[in-house]
Structures are given as C-alpha cells and as structure tokens.
C-alpha cells in the first residue's frame, strides 16, 4: 500500500518500549481532535501496547500495516465530547436501506467523509472518499442534481457534511446516521 495521507508521522523505528507509546502520547496531545497520526515502529511490543493505550485513552485506533518489519499504526485523535454532538440534518438513511439498495444492484452515490486512513482500512464498496475537511474545495467533483448518501464513522461528521452540501444547493443528500461503526455488510479495503 502506498503512503497514506495523514496529518502527522511519528518515526519510532529502532525504539523499544516505552518510547513508542510515550512519543505517541505526546504527539497526540499536540494534535487537534480528528487528526490522524501515523506511528512507525519496529518493536513488536508496540502492536498490543498502542492498541491497548488507544482503547484506554479513547483515541480511535484505525488500523495497522506491517511492511518489511515496520509496523505502521494509524490513530485518530478523539475527544470524548465528540460523540455527544447533536445531529442537525433532518434527512437520514439507515445502513439497512443502503445495504438493500446495493444488494438490488442500484447505483448509489456514497460519499465517505472520514480521513483517508480510516477509508483505507475499510469502507462500503464503491464509496468515494472526500474527507470532511476537503469537502468545500472539492465540490466541483460532485453534481448538485444527484442524490448522495454521506457516511462517516458514527454519523457526526457526515451530519456536518450534509449541512455543508445542503447550503451549497444540493437538494438530495442523506446522512447515514449509524455510520461505519454499525455497518455489517461487505467491506472494501486498500
């Protein structure tokens, strides 16, 4: 897999425990909520430890790639308040409806607004990636006359993305409120 777009990369090659976790913690503290950190480590112990650390601290452990003895961890900084945000966009679609449409062979425009690393580690087949932060400058890739279903991890970022599109004149957008967390259908990966 090619270099994945992330906000920051931390090089911990050659470092033994506890340093990969110590440096990850420091880096995450300096980042903004929602940003993605790539940690490169060669210590096999980093695998279980970084996953446990992320779980305990509430940050999202997106995934791991191993290549030539280097473990590449992807972690998205989370904020405990993030999941409590109110949903404002009125038009929603359930995962089941999306699944049924895909199964029936319908052409649907799925827009995945998560970070590229999250998208790379698993998305609904055929979904197009435009991270929330890039949405406004990439509107030209979309057609306001089309119907779009917006997906993220938990339904929050897609809610904001729906509002943005609606403000820009898109008439037919729906928020996949359950998000990828509750998606049980097929997954496509890089």
């Amino acid at each position: 897999m090619n270099a994945m777009q992330v906000n920051r990369t931390l090089e911990c090659e050659g470092l033994a425990c506890p340093l990969p976790v110590v440096r990850t913690k420091k880096a995450v503290e300096e980042m903004r909520t929602g940003e993605v950190l790539e940690v490169r480590a060669t210590d096999r112990g980093s695998v279980a430890d970084l996953q446990s650390w992320a779980k305990r601290t509430g940050h999202q452990y997106i995934g791991l790639k191993e290549e030539n003895g280097v473990f590449r961890h992807y972690i998205r900084k989370s904020d405990p308040t993030e999941t409590k945000e109110e949903r404002k966009f009125p038009h929603a679609i359930s995962n089941e409806e999306i699944h049924n449409k895909l199964s029936a062979g319908e052409i649907v425009n799925l827009l995945d607004v998560r970070e590229p690393a999250e998208y790379a580690f698993g998305r609904i087949p055929g979904a197009k990636s435009i991270p929330l932060g890039e949405l406004e400058k990439r509107l030209h890739e979309l057609d306001p006359g089309q119907e779009y279903y917006l997906v993220c991890r938990s339904g929050n970022r897609s809610d904001m993305a729906c509002q943005t599109l609606a403000e820009k004149g898109f008439k037919n957008v729906k928020n996949a409120v359950q998000g990828m967390t509750e998606w049980t259908g097929e997954i496509e990966k890089d």
């Binding site: 425990c17 506890p18 976790v21 913690k25 279980a48 430890d49 446990s52 650390w53 305990r56």
Partner: protein, 381 residues
C-alpha cells in the same frame, strides 16, 4: 540509561528467590493480555499488573498498590518500560525497587541447573529447569563425556556448564519432536560433532540426518558406564520415547508429568494417538518398577518444584496421586485428553516445522515463537 536509586535483578537471582520461597512483590507493567497469558510465578510471589502506559503521567496508581517496605520487582517484556516505571517509583521515595534485567524475554530463556543425583558408575545427572517456560532438560555426565536430553534452544547455557565440568558432548537426544519449544539438540550436536538422536516415527519429515532411537539400541555415556535405555512410549507424539538411566531414573518426556499427563493433540492426531497414550500410561509404565524416579520434560505449576527446584516424583507415588493416571474408565480418559484442552502453545505449528528443519527462522523470530507458557499437559489451564 540512567538507573538512579533502583537495582537490577537477573533472572538467575529471581529464580533463587523463588526456589528459596522468598517474598517478592512483582509489578508487571506489560499489557493485560500478555500478563494474563503468562507471568512470573512463585509460592510467595504477589503479582500486580498495571500497564506502563497507564503510568505515563502519574505513578500514583502504582504507589497505591505496592506495599511499602517490601522488595518490589518491576517487570516488562524486555526491560525498558520496567526501568522507566521503577525510576519513577524510586523518585517518589520508595526503596527496595528493582527491575528484571532483560525482562520476560530473559525470564523465558534462563535455565537453572539442578543436580538430580550422582550415578552408580561415577557419573552425575542434572536437570535444567527452564523456570519461565516450564521446560526441563537433562545432562548425563560420566568420565569426561556428556549427553543432553531435550536440549532447549539456548545452547550456550549447556556449553558453559559442560566447560565448567570439563566434559565433551557426544549425544544430543530428543524424546520426541517438540511442539512447544525449539530444540537446540541438532545445533549443539553439530557444533561438537556429537550424534543427534530422534525417534524415527517423529522424524519422517525431517530434512537432516539423525540417529534413530530404538528400543534395544542403548546409548552409552563415558566408558560405557551409564546406559541410556530407550523405551518406546507413544501418545504425545507417535514416536515419543522414554529413557531409563542407571536403572533408577525414568525420563518420560511429554508423556507423563508429575501432576498431569501429556496431550495427544499437538500434531493434529489426538483421536489416533489417545489409545497409544492410554496404553503407555496404563500398561507400559505400569510394568516398570514403582521405585523409578520420574523425570519429565515439563512442569505445569511452580508447586511442582521440589528441593532446589528439582521436578521429580516416584513412579509408584504418581500412580496414586497423578489425576491423569487415575482415570479408570477408558472413555472418560479419552474425553479428558481430547476435550476441553488448554489452548495450544503459541506458534506450535511453526515450532514443529522448525524442529523438522523445514523452517529456518532468525534467532529473533525463534525467541518470539517461544514466548509464553508451554501448555503441553492436559491439565495446564
């Protein structure tokens, strides 16, 4: 790395403390899954698990849990995190804080030599206790010659011992094709021009030359004084072989342990071998003298360690007390040794391939493959 105010403890020193039943508080700072899988145990060892990443900002959760005034040993996978945590505990004003040199990696590899006995022909028999993993290996010495049985991967430790004793290796013997640890038998035999013996039925797929262990073909160490007599005892593997030494000691490999019996499933043929296992345990061994001292290739719990760490038991006593030798109903036995078994040892398939010579992992990879408990007995839960 600075190690102000804290002491380094070696695996050898920790082993001595455990064998002397000394009190020790262990703060294990590995992640919970690793701790639950495998840890340092002892009769007077109290273990506390707090992962180091929970102590990065604030050491007080550790201070709250470790009793003041006791010897505290901080342990991690390699040692870096244990030094990091131990230093903070010492900075907080606690004393008697040590860390384990080399961490669980070195714990897994340390062998404690324990003398079993002098032998009638003037030789000696030693048991090497791999306390961190529960593996037992043996050295027979006589008249300047040596044989090692069930050699572990860390052959330097036997080499050093043989050098001190002034003996030359002439035989390396494996009771069976091991699935829980990588055998050092072939490597050590090659290095000293010694013979490497394996049971032929376990060696059908090996990629190297070896001597066939067969009943009747006795092996001699030192001027033919000590006879190592192979007895075919299938069950854990189809080739499993036991040895009689000096008509007094019965080396049972992974067939019979002190508190349990071997599992027949690690080569994937539990159903086929359970009958052999039953036959070996309930007939073949039964024909032998009850006065034989059983010396197994594993122990399951530290409570099995006797004086000086020796793991041994009289065959007659085992027939009375070992639960695996007291299942009189054959169907019940079949059930016990094939159902509800403990998880299989880590990487056991790769370990078997390595012991057959089909895989050649690096030293680092071999170490990783062996990490964790051995789980070769049916009662190792």
């Amino acid at each position: 790395m600075s190690t102000m105010g804290i002491q380094k403890m070696t695996s050898k020193e920790v082993t001595k403390m455990i064998l002397n039943n000394e009190e020790l508080v262990i703060l294990d700072v590995r992640n919970e899954a690793d701790f639950n899988d495998w840890k340092i145990e002892g009769n007077n060892v109290e273990s506390i698990n707090i992962p180091y990443f929970d102590l990065l900002d604030d050491i007080s959760p550790a201070l709250d849990k470790i009793p003041d005034g006791k010897n505290v040993l901080v342990v991690c996978a390699k040692e870096g995190s244990s030094i990091f945590v131990a230093e903070q505990i010492a900075e907080a004003g606690r004393s008697n804080i040590s860390y384990l040199e080399g961490g669980m990696k070195s714990w897994s590899e340390y062998l404690e030599p324990v003398k079993v006995s002098d032998l009638s022909g003037g030789g000696e028999l030693y048991q090497f206790v791999r306390i961190g993993k529960g593996c037992l290996s043996y050295i027979v010495l006589s008249n300047g010659e040596a044989a090692i049985i069930d050699t572990s991967r860390m052959i330097e430790q036997y080499e050093q011992f043989m050098q001190e004793k002034g003996v030359k290796l002439i035989h390396a013997i494996d009771t069976h094709l091991h699935a829980d640890h990588i055998s050092g038998g072939r490597a050590v035999a090659q290095k000293y021009g010694a013979a490497y013996h394996l049971p032929p039925k376990d060696a059908t797929e090996v990629t190297f030359e070896y001597e066939k262990l067969e009943e009747g073909n006795d092996i001699y160490v030192g001027n033919e004084t000590i006879k190592v007599k192979p007895i075919y005892t299938p069950g854990h593997t189809i080739g499993s072989t036991s040895f009689m030494i000096d008509n007094k000691y019965l080396l049972t490999g992974d067939i019979l342990f002190i508190d349990s019996v071997g599992r027949p499933d690690l080569a994937g043929l539990a159903e086929d071998w359970v009958g052999d296992l039953r036959d070996t345990l309930y007939s073949r061994y039964k024909e032998l003298s009850e006065e034989l001292v059983v010396l197994p290739a594993h122990f399951g719990k530290v409570t099995e360690l006797g004086v000086g760490g020796l793991v041994a038991g009289r065959l007659g006593t085992l027939y009375n007390e070992n639960p695996g030798l007291n299942i009189h109903d054959e169907r019940e036995f079949r059930k016990t040794v094939t159902e509800n078994l403990p998880p299989q040892p880590n990487s056991y398939q790769e370990i078997r391939q390595t012991n057959m010579g089909k895989m050649n992992p690096s030293e680092h990879e071999q170490r990783e493959m062996e990490i964790g408990p051995n789980r070769c007995a049916v009662h190792d839960k």
